[in-house]
């Protein structure tokens, strides 16, 4: 610890010094006339200091995490408390005032809501509701039990005279018991997140800590009012009222949360045109639910928890991907920031001699009682629960549950709220609460990790999403609910089934965008994720090989690699360029044209590469130009890209699977190679027939190209359509051909090549399907949806092709162009399969 405090001194000096400086400077500044620069510390004092504290806390976090050793052993919350103690001590030593304490207002209105909202919004719903019965039992019965036994036992000891003279009655003790009984969500989250126990155990402890808030609030306010009334005047009616108010507070809080969740989901349904403030709604409306229930004196924690739990599904579906990310990060940032501040301020608050009143017996007995009664309570309740639970809670789990009963800032804030006039021993309660909090967070937090390891508690495991698992899981849901239907039971599955039916038929329709309703199937999501991963690993594979050679030949054959991860360099090398090179050297002897050809090959490769990159690379978002606008972000290219990648990889998975399955991989490859070779030969043989290329052709070429790029700007679109649709039809043929192994696709290629002079009927003619009937679905749909990401490369190619074509004016330079064209063609089959496949299977 001590070596970390070094840098903090500097920050601290900054915190303390301005204060002293400000006081001295103010009067001297006022006496003079106009001042160019004034030092107005008091204007900014409060927010400034708050910000500095937050900065200190955040910097401290950075420092903690510099050393993994420290954070692995000591939980962050404990470190923060200790830091708070140190800082508080320093401030106190310097200033002799307790600079800052955690006030209940700040805590309840600003620090607690983000943490609880975060918990609710990211709550694993299925797990939560699956264990709801257990959680409720622990939260309600357990908390009442803890409060009552702790309070009563302390009172009993007090009566025995062990604590000396205290000005408290039974009700004071019960009040204290009620606020010290509740397990604290902030502390539990902070510690358990680092421990990684299995999810069932986690959800039970954490759910308990969230839901016991209602009990705590009710018990606290009931006893507080009883204390105010005075012990004698409490009647039976008041007790009944107290019980009724428990139901009102808890159910009312929940209801408020659900209503606001409904509202929030509904609002996000219509935020399509105000994407930029979309994330704001999530925070504003959930916070409103918190404030509303606070206003109605209902359980605010329950309200915001349930708001988060209920809205998550619909909100996540409605808002755009970026907004979802924003919400996620903002929420995490707020929550973890709030947590940091809470723990640090807990430490700082403790440095105030005024609040400390020591009573050894009281403090120690409180510690003893809360541990002992929690243990007893957990064991009793688990014994009852295990008779009904499917997943039994093992003794080891129970140990963790007892040990995980951490107290935290909620208890502290509640105890600070007490009125000194009514509760005479407030200071004792405050100091005891602080001791309890520190003990549980620091000591238990420190030891729970070794304990969990020592007991070999089932840890949670991060699993990759599996499609099969999801599918079987879905099947199970249906089977189980069917069995319950058939056997006439109303069980868990029955209820879940009814709920999901209701959700699908009513709620989703009302609360979700129409577009979102579609894609919100979890199975689809997993599928989507897997596909994205495939695409990424595919590109990564290429990168790993240090070149784009892997990507360069995006023929379907290669795609098998994606899944079965067997890189086969031989097939890679059998790519277009390879074939071209070989054939070229065999036929052509002219150095000039050889050079020319090499260029063209490089061109082709470039193009293919470019195209592949377009196709597969997941572009970093920064690439998009941001034209500044407060209200709009640049249109959602990324989303489109996502979809595109998704579709493509899906096709590929599918295709590779089919080929693997049908065992036609080899045939297909062979057929393709054969075909390519044939086409190649034809092309090559056609070249020597014509005139030989002119000299200095390569030279001219580059210049002319630019010229004509401009010229054909208007004409280009025409060609794009023609070219691409042609290519696709051709491709559709190829795929069909290879399946049936008929030579039909090849017949047309000779003729157009020999008379390439008509510019309009260049490659499209080559690609024209001889049997249009064979590929009816291809062209119309395809040409209309061309401007997808992949189309870039293709349109570029088309333009290039075109520029070559329009090149054939006076000078007789047909041949080179032709060759250029010829060399451009081969990528066709290699490049386009994904599209053709897309044609075969309608997209999602």
């Amino acid at each position: 610890m001590s070596r970390h405090t070094g840098p903090l001194w500097a920050v601290l000096a900054a915190l303390v010094l301005p204060r002293a400086g400000a006081i001295e400077e103010e009067p001297s500044g006022a006496s003079q006339g106009f001042q160019i620069v004034t030092f107005k510390w008091h204007h900014v004092q409060d927010p400034y200091i708050i910000m500095l504290w937050i900065l200190v806390a955040s910097l401290a976090k950075i420092v903690f995490h510099l050393s993994h050793k420290v954070t692995r052993i000591v939980p962050e919350s404990a470190l923060l408390i200790m830091l708070g103690l140190v800082l508080g001590g320093i401030v106190w030593a310097a200033d002799h005032i307790a600079s800052f304490t955690l006030t209940p207002t700040v805590f309840f209105y600003y620090l607690l809501p983000p943490i609880v909202l975060d918990a609710g919004y990211f709550m694993p719903n299925r797990l939560f509701f699956g264990n709801l019965g257990t959680i409720l039992l622990y939260a309600v019965i357990g908390t009442v039990w803890n409060a009552a036994t702790t309070g009563l036992s302390l009172y009993g000891v007090f009566c025995s005279g062990l604590m000396g003279d205290l000005q408290s009655g039974l009700l004071d003790f019960l009040l204290f018991g009620s606020l010290i009984a509740a397990v604290d969500p902030v502390a539990v989250l902070a510690v358990f997140e680092e421990v990684h126990v299995n999810e069932v155990l986690f959800i039970i402890v954490f759910g308990e800590s969230l839901l016991n808030d209602a009990v705590t609030v009710v018990l606290y306010s009931v006893f507080e009012s009883f204390v105010t009334l005075g012990g004698d005047k409490v009647t039976g009616v008041d007790c009944v009222k107290g019980i009724v108010s428990f139901f009102v507070v808890s159910l009312g809080g929940t209801l408020v949360g659900v209503v606001f969740a409904f509202l929030l989901s509904l609002v996000t349904r219509f935020t399509k045109h105000v994407r930029i403030i979309e994330p704001g709604f999530v925070f504003v409306i959930s916070y409103l639910s918190y404030l509303t229930s606070e206003m109605l004196s209902l359980s605010a924690i329950l309200a915001i928890t349930f708001c988060g739990i209920c809205c998550q599904k619909y909100v996540k579906a409605n808002i755009s991907e970026q907004s979802a990310t924003t919400v996620r990060y903002t929420m995490k940032m707020l929550a973890s920031g709030a947590e940091t501040i809470i723990f640090m301020f807990l430490g700082i608050s403790a440095v105030d001699p005024l609040i400390w009143t020591w009573n050894t017996a009281f403090v120690l007995l409180t510690l003893l009682f809360i541990s002992v009664y929690r243990t007893i309570g957990v064991i009793l309740q688990t014994w009852i629960l295990n008779r009904y639970r499917m997943v039994q809670l093992e003794p080891i789990d129970q140990v963790v549950m007892c040990y995980g009963g951490l107290r935290g800032a909620v208890a502290y804030a509640l105890v600070v709220l007490l009125d000194k006039k009514k509760v005479k021993e407030k200071n004792l309660f405050v100091s005891t609460t602080l001791i309890v909090v520190f003990f549980t967070v620091i000591f238990q937090g420190l030891t729970i990790k070794p304990l969990v390891q020592w007991l070999k508690v089932k840890r949670s495991e991060q699993k990759e999403p599996k499609l099969n698992e999801k599918l079987h899981g879905r099947a199970f849901d249906h089977i189980l609910s069917a069995i319950e239907d058939i056997s006439g039971q109303i069980g868990h599955n029955y209820l879940r089934d009814k709920w999901s039916n209701f959700d699908r038929k009513v709620l989703s329709k009302v609360l979700m965008r129409r577009s979102a309703q579609k894609s919100r199937d979890r199975i689809l999501n997993v599928f989507h994720e897997l596909n994205l991963k495939d695409a990424i690993s595919y590109v990564a594979e290429g990168e790993r090989r240090g070149s784009l050679a892997f990507i360069r030949s995006p023929s379907t054959d290669n795609m098998v690699n994606v899944d079965f991860s067997t890189p086969r360099p031989s097939t890679v090398e059998a790519s277009v360029s390879y074939l071209l090179r070989e054939n070229v050297s065999a036929v052509c002897l002219d150095m000039q044209s050889l050079e020319q050809r090499r260029r063209s090959i490089r061109d082709t490769e470039d193009m293919v590469t470019h195209h592949t990159l377009q196709q597969y690379l997941y572009k970093p978002r920064q690439e998009y130009k941001h034209i500044y606008s407060r209200h709009k972000l640049t249109p959602n290219e990324a989303e489109k890209q996502d979809k595109e990648i998704f579709h493509r990889t899906m096709r590929k998975r599918l295709e590779s699977f089919k080929s693997a399955k049908l065992g036609m991989n080899q045939n297909k490859k062979a057929a393709k190679l054969y075909k390519r070779e044939r086409a190649q030969k034809r092309r090559n043989s056609s070249i020597p027939n014509g005139k030989l290329p002119m000299e200095s052709l390569a030279h001219n070429f580059a210049i002319k190209e630019k010229e004509f790029e401009l010229l054909d700007a208007e004409e280009a679109p025409d060609y794009e359509v023609e070219e691409t649709s042609g290519g696709i039809e051709f491709l559709a043929n190829v795929t069909k051909d290879t399946a049936s192994d008929s030579p039909a696709g090849d017949t047309g290629s000779d003729t157009p090549l020999t008379r390439p002079s008509s510019p309009r009927r260049g490659p499209p003619a080559v690609l024209q399907p001889p049997h249009p009937a064979m590929s009816p679905p291809a062209s119309p749909a395809q040409s209309s949806r061309m401007p997808g990401p992949g189309a870039h490369a293709r349109s570029a190619a088309a333009r290039r092709v075109h520029s070559r074509r329009s090149f054939q004016r006076p000078r007789a330079r047909r041949r080179p162009e032709l060759r250029k064209l010829a060399s451009l063609q081969p990528p066709g089959p290699a490049e386009l399969p994904p599209l053709a496949l897309e044609q075969e299977e309608t997209p999602l």
């Binding site: 499917m390 079987h472 058939i486 056997s487 006439g488 039971q489 069980g491 079965f564 998975r653």
Partner: protein
């Protein structure tokens, strides 16, 4: 209850066979008679009377499983026309929670039994293999509840799942290797590490009440 009551011997026998308690057997018997309309056997049509079942997307597969000879332990294939109460209980017993007090072997055994039931549901032609067609069929039905998912996407999901299964079970495949379908051994492999005990069970109560906890 009459039949079961008059022959408590029979009930005891059923208890031994299926592992249900006598209360549960009685309860299920009541339900059985309700379904069958006081007949000794149930036919497929009887299941049409269960109103909640109608919304179930894989209804037909589930009902079929009730008549599957493999599940009834009556033969390697084929469907029974009707089932009696004992058969009914046999099917139901697949969904009994696994008794964790038993030894590891027995737990493993009942786990296998449960998985076999599921496997039989997928493997509709009883050839011991879930072929792509069969898998597609199941997935299509599974997803038919969602009107927004087209048949085609359901199919490609099935294909994807099949590929995943292939890569789990066979590992690296040769390019010309053919994966014909998921065998039961493969099926077990896929399920490895997944906690089936907590998934495939129904809490059979003695009374018809809402279970408080699961």
């Amino acid at each position: 209850m009459g039949a079961a009551h008059s022959a408590s011997e029979e009930v005891r026998e059923l208890e031994g066979k299926t592992g249900f308690s006598s209360d549960q057997i009685e309860q299920l018997h009541r339900r059985f008679k309700q379904l069958s309309g006081d007949q000794p056997t149930i036919r497929k049509e009887n299941f049409n009377n269960v109103p909640d079942l109608e919304l179930n997307p894989i209804r037909s597969k589930i009902v079929r499983a009730f008549f599957d000879n493999r599940n009834l332990r009556k033969g390697p294939s084929g469907l029974a026309d009707e089932i009696n109460f004992e058969d009914f209980l046999t099917i139901m017993s697949y969904f009994r929670p696994i008794d964790t007090t038993l030894g590891e072997e027995e737990v493993e055994l009942s786990r296998r039994e449960k998985l076999r039931f599921l496997f039989h549901m997928y493997d509709s032609d009883s050839d011991g293999r879930i072929t792509l067609e069969e898998y597609r069929n199941v997935v299509e039905e599974l997803l038919s509840g969602n009107p927004h998912i087209e048949k085609e996407s359901a199919r490609s999901i099935a294909d994807g799942a099949m590929m995943e299964a292939a890569s789990v079970c066979v590992g690296q495949m040769e390019p010309d290797q053919v994966y014909e379908g998921i065998t039961f051994e493969d099926f077990l492999k896929i399920w490895q590490g997944i906690d089936i005990e907590t998934k495939m069970h129904v809490r059979f109560l003695n009374m018809e009440t809402i279970a408080l906890c699961h």
